[in-house]
């Protein structure tokens, strides 16, 4: 049934203000889950705590895999990523000197390919990567793979592609559609679902585009003021009074 993430007694505060307070939470029991909530609810912080980008004040995050629990609290970002827990970024991020192709090659390179003494395997490596890169270039409609990602949309797509190329077990997506042209969001989500099926990958999506959430997620978590207030099927969450009052009531109705 694949990997799940288990959070216990997690707490994070900034300057005395608690921004995450989660006694217990299991994520990615379902193939595609949603994490919704108003701005400032602590959604991004929760993902940063899970991936090791930041450390919690107290509490633990564990990765449950094949009946074993791997403690990932306190692990470095890169080790968590190597374990297969990866996230796409809310804020646009890129490597300014790498082209689209370079970026993809970077993701595809494993520890064994990377070393100061590895001067000669480049041609084989590129040959090995080429079909995979070609697939993604076509799927994402990148105009020129040897160019840099220029628009915000291209950078956002590239960020997602870099993560998918790592073949993660759990992909956390932080507001993937922000900055993307609307006609592309459907394609991207279709691609992510396809990869999820094919590679046995779980996905957790943070999104304000609720139509998308209701459409693609099997299960939704609702977060406000640093706490997970509710989980359930899209239908249950959508019709819940609390969610309407605290979130959809405002501007997202």
């Amino acid at each position: 049934m694949g990997d799940t993430i288990e959070v216990n007694g997690l707490r994070k505060s900034y300057g005395g203000r608690v921004v995450n307070e989660i006694p217990r939470l299991t994520l990615s029991e379902h193939r595609i889950e949603g994490l919704i909530g108003p701005n400032g609810a602590g959604k991004t912080t929760l993902m940063s705590l899970i991936t090791g980008r930041i450390r919690p004040d107290t509490g633990s995050v564990r990765l449950l895999r094949d009946g074993a629990a791997i403690e990932i609290t306190g692990m470095s970002l890169n080790r968590v990523a190597r374990l297969g827990v990866v996230r796409t970024n809310q804020k646009i991020q890129d490597f300014e000197s790498l082209t689209i192709e370079d970026s993809m090659l970077l993701s595809l390179a494993t520890d064994r390919d990377e070393g100061p003494g590895r001067l000669f395997g480049e041609r084989d490596f590129r040959e090995r990567c080429d079909p995979i890169i070609a697939d993604y270039v076509a799927a994402m409609k990148f105009a020129d793979r040897s160019a840099h990602a220029l628009s915000a949309g291209e950078k956002k797509l590239l960020d997602i592609v870099r993560c998918l190329l790592l073949e993660p077990k759990i992909l956390l997506m932080d507001e993937p559609t922000v900055g993307l042209p609307t006609e592309q969001t459907d394609e991207v989500m279709a691609l992510v679902s396809r990869v999820a099926e094919r590679q046995d990958m779980k996905v957790v999506i943070i999104e304000h585009d609720l139509d998308l959430i209701w459409k693609v997620c099997e299960h939704v978590h609702f977060m406000a003021d640093g706490q997970i207030l509710l989980h359930g099927t899209p239908e249950e969450v959508r019709t819940n009074r609390l969610v309407r009052d605290k979130y959809m009531g405002e501007s997202h109705a």
Partner: protein
Amino acid sequence: MFDLLTSYTLFSLSTVMGFVALATLLHLQFGLAGIVNFGVVGFWGLGMYAFGVLLIQFEVPYPLAMLLAVAIVAAVSLLIGWVIVDLNDQAVLVATLAFGTIVTSLVTTEKWLTEGVVGLGSVPYPVETGDGALWQFVVLTAVTAAIVIYAARIAKTPYGRLLAAKRDNEPLARGLGKNTSRHKLTIFVITCALMGFVGTLSAPVHRFLTPDLIGPGVTFSAWIALIVGGKRHPLGGVLGVALTIFVFDFVIETYVPVPSEHAATVTVIKTIVYGVTLIVALMFRPLGLLGPGRKRGSR
């Protein structure tokens, strides 16, 4: 007369070649991996002096003394690298600059080892036939060429892309599973050890080792050359040294007859021209002559 010119020419060219090697190693450290090493002279000077001291004070056999000197530099850079690996750029700059200064002052004060300002002499060429200087120049050139070729090649491998990614956006690279700390440390130690190796090759060129050989000017010259030539380009160090150190320390000193009462003026002019060149390069070509020009509308 001709003999004198030749040996002086070889001395100058060997010095220039040493700078090409240092500037190219700095390209790997800073241009590629983004490590702000302002202690270039420390690693080079430690290699040079450790070799000289082992050879002369302890009478260690020539090749072994070289090997040990490089090992010492590697060990010291591992220690420094371990301290600075996850610090920010400013802290790395200060720490490496301090290291360079420490090496210079230890060399001056620890007279029992280094003979201080009197000078440690004399470091012979490995082969003391008449052609020692020529062979040393050939070896230095070969080593420098190997470093330049390595720099050109590594940029186009997974490792080169990894270092560039680390330099551009380290958290993003780590998010993709890249152990940037480990790779930073590795490339730092390798390149610093090579700076030390170049130092061991430079020792017989200077013959008498004195503390004024290892002043901060060495670091700044390597930096200016790299910035002028193009920090991101594997040939940036070569071009930069050709336009700065080569012009002053070789062309002008060798071929322009400067009356001895004006010799000091040349040094001052050199410093001024270096400074102006650096400013002009940063204004019009922030990535150096071999880098792309400043884009319209960019920062």
